[in-house]
Amino acid sequence: MTVTTAPHLHRGVRPVPAPPEPVEPTYVRGMAPPAERTDAQVVRDVLAGDRDAYRLLVRRYGDALHAHALRMVGSQDVAADLAQEAFVTGYRKLGSLRAPERVGAWLFRILANVVRDHLRRTRRRHISLHVLPEIPAPQRGPDEDTVDADVRTRVRQALAKLTPEQQEAFVLKHVEGRSYEEIAAVMDLSVAALKMRVHRAREALQGLLKEFA
């Protein structure tokens, strides 16, 4: 199958501030300046032995990968560790990448696998989904902030009760707003199967949060 390029992966890239003074860059002859190298060029440079060029990929996709991991696990420390793991795995497997221009989507797919494995592992170890208590209804009072906080806590808990695959599909669709085609490429599913998975996730959440939907 083909992983389609995901332009939104550039969404989280931090802008590079302009230098205060015009600086004449020094380049190795024949090599494009780092900021102008395309993803495909960077991949080829890394594979040719320019290990430090991989840094550019971490800069370009670090924010997008970290943001997704954070939405999935809810902890900045864990999300950063998972993003780190994905980048290291990506480096190790870079030789197997056949479409260097799609390295961003490829790294995102690796991250999705790393996150899925993490959730399977940690939920098995720390949480028995079957013995989690039902999520209590919020104590609605005059203070709207309190109500909002309750809602947020409950939706976080509800997400943790989904299977990792359902949670991933739901977050990619309804939190990150990606298209079904993009998500299908990340999750290696048909669009029809993916729609069903998202639907099941919504049904599960609806059961857990009856008074909201």
Partner: protein, 208 residues
Amino acid sequence: MKDEDVRRYLDGETEMDAMDDQARSEARSWDRLLAAFRAETPGAPAPPWLENRVMARIEALPEPGLARRAWSWLLRPRPLRLSPATLGLAAAAVVALVLLPGRRGPAPTGDAGGAAATVVYVQFDLRAPDARSVAVGGDFDEWQGSYPLEDPDGDGIWTGRVPVKPGLYAYMFLVNGSKWVTDPEAAHHTDDGFGNRNAVLAVTAPAT
């Protein structure tokens, strides 16, 4: 019908205005709930230390292109000078290899044709009784693991056929969607340069 309308709305296949009042009300509830999910699960930029930690870790790893470069070097044609005696020994070795009994592994099951563009179906199998899913991926599908294997009788042997063109391919099995596993039954393996072994599959065009 209302549920179907709401489902289509949430999938982006219809607009709020196209639904009746009851479906619209439910759709608005969903909008509110999904907004709560988005608010509760914000993304955030990566911490500044991520880049340096990644670079520090990969400093200790072998270069990722090393295996491929070695593979290319092995496959690169080069002039070869052989004495008649050496040539005879090499021919004898080839004959001996051909006559050796075959071993279990991916078996080409090609149909007709012998041209380079001929597609040959290769059967893969892996014994993995505890697996929930098994797929195969390799040079032939850009390592996407896009060919699922099946275990219809539940005996733990996963099988499937993959159409490939004649050539030399490295491949592995993808178990449970995340774990790459080397084919233990492959006749040949190659080190990928960072601790894993890829199985090697040689596919020849079937004789006409």
